[in-house]
């Protein structure tokens, strides 16, 4: 169990960082994963090619919500170039838990919402082709 729900995952689930919404965001996007019922919305404020501020809301399993919280920490203040380069592998590395094929989408939902909001990405991260 310790190798799955690590302390920092549970911490981000119970005390999500950057949780909430932004007033007048430059980008807002929400998606769900109907199979699990996970849902994530991400709001972004952009300034001079950087993410000036970010908030997320959502509901779902611990992995999906912790991933969103961790992701917002990583991209806050980052350049859009950096955000564009943020990969599936990087997201999974941050989570650091072995995800079964079914749970993979829980771990990647936040990244998908972020990239779809920013670039109109239609596929799951890592499957952009």
């Amino acid at each position: 169990m310790d190798d799955f729900y690590r302390e920092f995952i549970l911490d981000h689930y119970k005390r999500p960082r950057n949780f909430g919404t932004l007033e007048d965001p430059d980008v807002t996007h929400e998606e769900d994963n109907p199979l699990c019922g996970d849902r994530i919305r991400i709001d972004l404020k952009l300034r001079e090619g950087h993410v000036a501020d970010v908030r997320f809301t959502g509901q779902g399993c611990a992995i999906s919500q912790a991933a969103a919280s961790l992701l917002t920490e990583k991209i806050k203040g980052a350049s859009l170039e950096r955000v564009r380069g943020f990969s599936k592998e990087e997201m999974l590395e941050i989570l650091g838990v072995p995800l079964s094929p079914i749970r993979l989408k829980c771990g990647l939902l936040a990244l998908k919402v972020l990239k779809t909001g920013l670039y109109g990405l239609q596929r799951w991260p890592g499957e952009e082709g």
């Binding site: 169990m1 799955f4 729900y5 549970l10 689930y13 119970k14 109907p34 199979l35 699990c36 019922g37 996970d38 849902r39 509901q59 779902g60 399993c61 611990a62 992995i63 999906s64 749970r103 829980c106």
Partner: protein, 423 residues
């Protein structure tokens, strides 16, 4: 099943003696001795699929290793043996659900295929534009989507009987949905997501009073309750082998002979014909008309063995024992703060769907899995039920007669652990 006021049925009283020897029964199921992550397997996902007793495994092994061959056409001895075993299993199924004739038993892949068969064969010839099909709000997707497909093809309309907050079908609403345009009623005998036992006898009586045929989805009923299709007076009854301790890939459609005879074939191919020329093909008689191609012979024979086994245990005793387990599970889970049971009908089979405040069902499932406890987490192929109760998913423990009170207690300890971790 739980009954209002805790009144015991004749069935329940029958289960009191002799004592139900669950430990001896568990010896019949090899998988129950498995360990998961070093812990004894606690298998509480029986509504998804049931485990298989030795006798089913051995029967299939014996078929494959001593008389494997095709049925209904070989002149050699192996084929005669296989055909005999295959047809004996059909008679076995007939007896098990008390059908009038063995030709009313059609072997299909499972409940899903049985319902699709009725939708496409009966439906496309008897249901047209503006006609209505009535289902309930607690159906499995397999008793929703085949009718939606039929509606798209024919212009028929789907009507849905609502359910109350306990997960019980509203019979008053049902009566108002039965109109002169109603051509078919299709309902679950037992809900897979809620455990509700529907009042199918009454549902059938009301429909047949105005000449409307009824299909009963019995996938979740046959493992728990004695089913008598003639007593129910239903027109079609569908169930799956793998939920009733038999193999996957085999299921049964019971149909009233008069209706089956008037229906066109569902699939064309070998075994379902009497003669073929390019000018005209003559279809075979029942039940072969609906069994195109080489069937799942080992599956059918294995299903027969499973029903024999279940008869040996005694369905009346199974029902009574599972009632006790369900009462225990319901009381123990309800007593945990933050746990809410979804599906609190007065009459229930041994299925407990629940949610835990602040914890997603998948996290419950993962934590329990690490304790060796297998439950189902998700929408249970009944998304409209989840929408009705305003939850994205539930955790579901579904009990069989080989489960024990101690296993229910392990589940309760596991849920306490979930709450400790996440809340």
């Amino acid at each position: 099943m739980i009954r209002a006021g805790g009144a015991m049925t004749a069935r329940s009283r029958g289960g009191r003696s002799p004592a139900f020897e669950v430990e001896r029964i568990r010896q019949d199921f090899p998988v129950l001795g498995e360990k998961i992550r070093g812990k004894p397997l606690v298998y509480l996902d029986n509504a998804a699929t049931s485990q298989k007793p030795h006798v089913v495994i051995d029967t299939i092994r014996q078929f494959l290793s001593t008389y494997n061959s095709n049925v209904h056409r070989g002149v050699h001895q192996l084929s005669e043996r296989a055909t005999e075993a295959y047809e004996q299993a059909r008679t076995r199924v007939q007896g098990f659900i008390n059908a009038a004739e063995s030709r009313e038993i059609i072997f299909v892949r499972g409940t899903t295929e049985a319902i699709n068969l009725v939708a496409q064969s009966y439906g496309r010839t008897h249901i047209g534009t503006g006609d209505e099909i009535v289902i309930s709000a607690m159906e499995h997707h397999s008793n929703i989507v085949p009718w939606q497909i039929l509606c798209e093809q024919t212009g028929a309309v789907l009507r849905v009987v609502p359910i109350n907050d306990d997960g019980e079908m509203l019979l008053d609403e049902y009566v108002t949905l039965l109109t002169p345009r109603t051509r078919l009623v299709a309902v679950a005998h037992v809900s897979n997501a809620l455990g509700t036992i529907n009042p199918v006898r009454e549902v059938i009586r009301l429909a047949r009073r105005q000449g409307v045929p009824v299909l009963v989805d019995g996938a979740q009923a046959v493992p728990h309750l004695k089913v008598d299709v003639r007593e129910l007076d239903c027109d079609f009854y569908a169930f799956s082998g793998h939920k009733v301790f038999g193999p996957t890939g085999i299921g049964v459609l019971y149909g009233r002979a008069r209706l089956l005879e008037a229906m066109p074939p569902y699939q064309g191919g070998g075994d379902m014909i009497k003669s073929v020329t390019f000018a005209k093909t003559v279809y075979n008689d029942l039940p072969f008309k609906f069994e195109a191609g080489t069937p799942h012979i080992g599956g059918v024979i294995g299903l027969g063995a499973a029903l024999d086994y279940l008869d040996g245990v005694g369905l009346d005793r199974v029902t009574a024992y599972e009632d006790e387990l369900l009462v225990h599970a319901t009381e123990a889970l309800s007593a945990i703060p933050g746990v809410r049971i979804i599906g609190t009908a007065k009459e229930k089979a041994s299925v407990v769907s629940f949610v835990v405040d602040g914890v997603h069902a998948h996290d419950i499932g993962t934590v329990l899995d690490h304790e060796g406890i297998a439950i189902r987490a998700g929408h249970h192929c009944a998304m409209p039920v989840m929408q009705r109760f305003g939850v994205p998913a539930t955790a579901r423990a579904s009990l069989a007669f080989y489960n024990t009170r101690e296993e229910v207690d392990a589940l309760v300890r596991g849920i306490h652990k979930v709450i400790e971790m996440f809340v």
